[in-house]
Symmetry: C2
Subunit: 457 residues, 2 copies
């Protein structure tokens, strides 16, 4: 632990500047306009892996954005850790809400403000620096492999193809991912599950052209009104999702599991204050932790139709659209839910409109075992560096890759995240604490140490 | 009639080219980006009035866009006709749906395609050319005044101030407006009423920032979902508007009036085919003509919120908004309905969101008398030039100015429109028949002739 703290102390500034360089790349995978920057980011990551001491570093082409691979095999007999992360980020808009430019990292009271600061550049880069530390201090106890992708924010479609085609190269004993959150630095936690995702786009078409709302208003169905009615019907009065069969495969938690989950520190007043809402909303009969961690949800991610410009246009629009995504829990299947939603949405469409439903992407829900060597290693590492044992939690987000690893490589994952829910992931003014960044770099080598030791037992 | 036809025949091409010039100005009043073009349009109209022989032509400044005034007083003892029109147009977007550029008039099988071709450049300019005709052929039988404004598409706010301040200058016996439609050139009609308008914008705010839909989804109200539920509740199962007191002042038509209205030719199959819808929608118990002409309506003119760009963004939006307008019928009041809507919308907002309601503009419904000298003059004029008596109809659109004239100047209006409902007003590919354009220029002098004669009786 001393060696670790010392090395971090001596390299503090450089480690931060390198992250800043990484954050300046506008690697928005959802928008083709940023293609050049996304590709540059991959090259930068590859170079940094080489600099840190990785062998066989390669920017592996895919049908989409490349995957950066690198490894250090010290002894085939030792256990192997596969580190996963992603160098792509969410779109930064609405830009006008950022206090400082999203791609010019800015420090305000100890926090780094930038798109990707926490999700996931700040977090995966801790692993690159922790690896450098272990190489420089000659303390790397196991084999390590890096796989950093560029399409996580758009569904990791090509990563699954890459994984299927590189099973030997990716062979490992555990997958280590830092792309999730802790309750707080005072209450360190470890995520034991993630929700799946089914993302679709719907388009409702009324008349074949925008109409004068005076000449036709009242005699022709308005697709914006119809879409509103259709969306409104997707939640019942208890805020349960109103799609036949939607809950069929949902695994209900045991009373014990619910109790443990709700034991985690939670200040509702603080939670509401942070979001500036006077009342929370959610499925009847469940706590906030349960709603975000263990229950499926349906959210409208975007809606648009008609005239949205300045001033007033008296138009009866021809079309109205929405992006709708559902978070899934064990044992729901992304494919099955996508089908259920599509059938239901078409079924409830009245005869006076046409409806088109287009699936975007999905991911499967996962639960990670808490009795594995890897999970116990993570517990020990956190307990040592934070001086406090981590609380097990259920994450609301989705990392589609986790279930893929299990299916294709037969490897379990440990979700050792150092972010905070308040880091504004996917929002304007995303941030990451400098403290968390260094804390992660200090904790990761301990994970490798204990994982190697416990594996030998 | 011979003189008229002859003059039109001799000047056909020039009259069309002048209209094309007028249509090339991008006079979109709703969007400040077009300010320069709107102002140039006013100057062009003023010049054309002077060329036609008008006196005291003036581009009258207002707090917004100027009003073009011009007059020809041949004898104060003669009756005076005040011609109203507007040189501003609706925004042209969505541009990608236009087959030819909206501001480059293009003729396809006898129709002029351009934004404003029918609403209202093509129609008010007929009056300028008819005036030129009467001047050139020395057949102008009465005094004539022109008032062409530039803010009709955004609520005519400054026109009302201008009218209040220029009562003497605008003194007249009737207001003549061509800004409405006929059933068809085979079935000429005269509008005997217009709907009023109340236009508002609503904004629903949930959390204070866009959130990660995984981390927060299910625990915080989604403003897009809530807005959808609120909009959905504004119509009941019979498609009646669900706002307490909304119908209190609505004047129900007598059976006789309904019978006359529904006697007008109407081909539902054609109507649906033109719009490419398999079923019509509307208030239960009323025909299409009644729904668009005599019943109040509520339409979503635009809706937006969250991520509407390319690809998928898993965001729980902070805000969702909509532009909502209501068409009003006698004796509803725009101000009262605006208040009723505002109160109701705030009332139905659940505690977990904040709601902002902003009124845009309004206009009062009007019914024009069918026994007046002016109305009979219009009937005679149309009967002579079309060889068929016009059918009285109720228009669904709104021309806020009409009720203003009545209130401020004590003058009734005649709505002698030559457009067609299929002219795609406010839509891409707006058009106006060249036939209708010339037909209007031929009919207008007859109106002045018969109005002067009947006034003398």
């Amino acid at each position: 632990m001393e060696t670790i703290k010392q090395y971090v102390a001596q390299n503090k500034e450089r480690m931060l500047n390198e992250l800043f360089e990484l954050l300046r790349f506008q690697s928005v995978s959802a928008d083709p306009a940023f293609k050049g920057d996304v590709l540059k980011t991959a090259d930068y990551v590859a170079q940094k892996l080489r600099d840190a001491g990785a062998d066989n570093v390669e920017v592996c082409p895919t049908a989409g954005y490349p995957i950066v691979y690198g490894e250090k095999i010290i002894d085939p007999a030792n256990p192997t850790v596969l580190v996963y992360g992603h160098y792509d980020v969410q779109p930064a808009d609405p830009l006008e809400l950022w206090h400082t430019p999203p791609f010019e990292p800015t420090v305000r009271d100890g926090k780094i403000y930038a798109r990707g600061a926490c999700d996931d550049k700040g977090q995966f880069y801790m692993h690159v620096k922790a690896f450098e530390l272990m190489m420089q201090t000659e303390t790397l106890p196991c084999n390590i492999k890096f796989m950093i992708e560029g399409e996580e924010e758009v569904g990791s479609a090509n990563l699954s193809i890459f994984v299927k085609g590189n099973k030997d190269r990716l062979a490992a004993d555990v997958v280590l991912i830092s792309d999730t959150s802790m309750i707080s630095m005072e209450d360190p936690s470890l995520e034991t599950g993630l929700r799946g995702l089914a993302y679709l786009e719907v388009e409702v078409t009324g008349p074949n052209r925008d109409l004068h709302s005076g000449v036709y208003g009242g005699a022709v169905a308005n697709p914006a009104t119809i879409l509103a009615k259709m969306i409104a019907s997707l939640h019942d009065d208890d805020n349960r999702i109103n799609i036949p069969g939607f809950y069929d495969d949902v695994v209900e938690l045991s009373e014990a599991e619910r109790k443990e989950l709700n034991a985690a520190p939670y200040d509702e007043t603080e939670y509401k204050k942070d979001l500036d809402v006077t009342e929370l909303w959610g499925e009847k009969g469940y706590s906030t932790f349960e709603r975000t961690g263990t229950r499926p949800t349906l959210e409208v991610n975007g809606i648009w139709g008609g005239y949205t410009g300045e001033g007033a246009k008296t138009v009866l629009p021809s079309k109205a659209s929405a992006k709708i995504s559902m978070r899934l829990v064990p044992n729901q299947s992304s494919e099955k839910i996508t089908q259920l939603f599509t059938d239901h949405f078409k079924h409830i469409a009245p005869a006076y409109v046409k409806v088109k439903v287009t699936p975007h992407h999905g991911g499967e829900p996962v639960v990670t075992p808490t009795d594995s060597v890897a999970y116990r290693a993570a517990q020990k590492a956190i307990a040592e560096s934070f001086g406090k044992a981590p609380i097990p939690t259920r994450g609301g987000g989705s990392i589609p890759i986790v279930s893929l690893f299990e299916a294709e490589l037969g490897i379990k994952t440990v979700l050792m995240g150092f972010g905070l829910d308040s880091d504004a992931l996917h929002s304007p003014n995303e941030k990451y604490d400098i403290f968390n960044y260094y804390k992660g770099i200090e904790t990761i080598p301990l994970f490798h140490k204990y994982f190697t030791e416990l594996s030998a037992e």
